[in-house]
């Protein structure tokens, strides 16, 4: 494993996410076999790949929801895989949006958003609510602030989940297949919100099968298969000037249906 890619030359600022040579095994199964990922400020990086390719695991290593077996993760220059790092402090700076939304069903939309503001950032109730209303407005759902998740459509639930993530004012938001659990007609509203986020300059890492969206919005596309990065480049490079056969056959499969 000497040919580890330490990422692209970084610009003036530290990369927001810098993961170096990440390995992850579950028992005997090695899911990640030395993956490196660098995400610069305001960049939107798309990770695509067949299921079981390790892309979600890679994403979850970025906020240590999965502890890498080896490798280093830095968030804005701070090594979070080092011993003694308060991961809860770090996670405030990394938002995450999940495939199955994972809203708290016993709390209203605004309750979902304010929980971490109150308990982690220790805001008082009024400040937290103001902040939550602001976040809910950004996803177009301030009028649903008092609704419970069970009263919202899948698309609305996912937008509340995005509001929950961005209310913390994170430096990067990780999206783990944010539209995969949605009915086709609800996907658009979530992608719309993600596009707005991107335009507001949010750094984002997205694991998704929304190829059209990737082509339009991503700065960089990474194709993973079998626990390694097979191909990486601009959407143009990966989708049009595909270099690898594995990428080509994957793209053929997913754009078929």
């Amino acid at each position: 494993m000497s040919d580890t890619d330490t990422g692209r030359a970084t610009g003036r600022r530290d990369p927001v996410v810098e993961a170096l040579d990440i390995h992850k095994s579950f028992g005997d199964l090695e899911v990640l076999k030395g993956v490196s990922l660098t995400v610069d400020p305001q960049e939107l990086v798309f990770i695509i790949g067949p299921s079981g390719s390790g892309k979600s695991t890679m994403l979850r290593c970025c906020n240590l929801l999965e502890q890498p077996t080896s490798g280093i993760v830095r968030i804005t220059g701070e090594e979070i895989t080092a011993k003694g790092v308060d991961i809860n402090l770090v996670r405030q700076r990394i938002g995450m949006v999940f495939q199955s939304f994972n809203l708290y069903p016993h709390m209203s939309a605004i309750g979902n958003v304010t929980l971490a503001l109150r308990r982690v950032q220790k805001m008082d109730a009024a400040a937290a609510e103001a902040k939550a209303h602001e976040a809910l407005s950004k996803v177009g759902l301030d009028h649903k602030a008092q609704s419970y998740p069970s009263e919202l459509s899948g698309g609305q639930q996912q937008r509340v989940a995005i509001a929950r993530a961005i209310a913390m004012e994170p430096e990067v938001v990780l999206f783990d297949e944010p539209t995969s659990a949605l009915d086709p007609e609800l996907v658009g509203s979530v992608l719309e919100v993600m596009r707005d986020l991107r335009e507001s300059g949010m750094t984002m890492v997205v694991v998704s099968h929304e190829m059209r969206f990737a082509e339009q919005a991503a700065d960089r596309v990474i194709f993973m298969d079998g626990g390694v990065i097979v191909e990486e480049g601009t959407p143009q490079q990966v989708f049009r000037d595909t270099q690898h056969e594995r990428t080509r056959s994957f793209l053929a499969r997913v754009t078929d249906h």
């Binding site: 809860n88 996670r91 405030q92 938002g95 995450m96 999940f98 994972n102 708290y104 982690v120 950032q121």
Partner: protein, 225 residues
């Protein structure tokens, strides 16, 4: 069968008029016992279930042992040990306190197992979502997991609480002047069994609303599924 004998033995209203203040004292003692034991047992049960769900091996083995122990020991035996044993160990705890200790540990073991099942019924994503926003494991447990877990097992918790309230009558054996004890004391005063009938009626009046609540909860759970 002589109706007059039955009436005198079991439904002698005049006896109740004579001794009802004592029965009320007993009822009040039972209420106090429940007000102490139910919240304590429930809280300790939540703590046990929480610690258990963190899967820290060094904590879990002694915890499992303790829970098994308290579930295997009949509450009456435990009660006798705490009431007569704790003072022998030099802890001069009043009978009420000793009874509370016994029932707290006994009921916490049951509450703990029920709540643990509730915690296990919550999808993993809930904890992950909470942790991803920077909540600690304990905070996530308190604000996200436990409220849902408790709701999911509410019928079992209510049943267990009913059982616990009824089981407090065992304290009559160690002479704590709770409802059943006072029923038996007053039975001896009036030479008939009417006070015991009164005791049964009082338990019934006390627990009936809870039984109703329980079946309503269960129906609601079924329909929301």
């Amino acid at each position: 069968m002589d109706w007059e004998v039955i009436r005198f033995s079991f439904f002698h209203w005049e006896s109740i008029q004579q001794v009802y203040p004592l029965l009320l004292d007993g009822w009040w003692m039972t209420i106090k016992l429940c007000l102490a034991v139910v919240p304590l047992g429930f809280t300790l049960g939540c703590m046990i279930a929480t610690v258990h769900s963190f899967h820290v091996r060094m904590l879990n083995y002694p915890l499992i042992f303790a829970v098994d122990f308290f579930r295997s020991i009949p509450p009456l035996v435990l009660l006798i040990y705490t009431v007569y044993g704790l003072p022998l160990l030099g802890w001069d705890v009043p009978a009420f306190g000793a009874v509370v200790v016994a029932f707290t540990f006994n009921s916490a073991s049951y509450y703990g197992e029920i709540i643990r099942a509730g915690i296990e019924s919550i999808p993993k994503g809930q904890m992950e979502a909470a942790r991803s926003t920077g909540l600690t494991r304990l905070q996530a447990m308190i604000h996200v997991i436990l409220p849902q877990a408790v709701r999911n097992v509410a019928p079992d918790l209510t049943s267990n609480t009913l059982e616990l309230i009824k089981a407090t009558s065992i304290a009559s054996v160690v002479a704590l002047p709770e409802l059943l004890r006072m029923g038996r004391v007053t039975q001896g005063l009036v030479y008939n069994a009417t006070p015991l009938i009164a005791v049964a009626v009082i338990y019934l009046i006390m627990l009936w609303p809870m039984v109703r609540l329980l079946s309503r909860l269960e129906r609601r759970m079924m329909s929301s599924r």
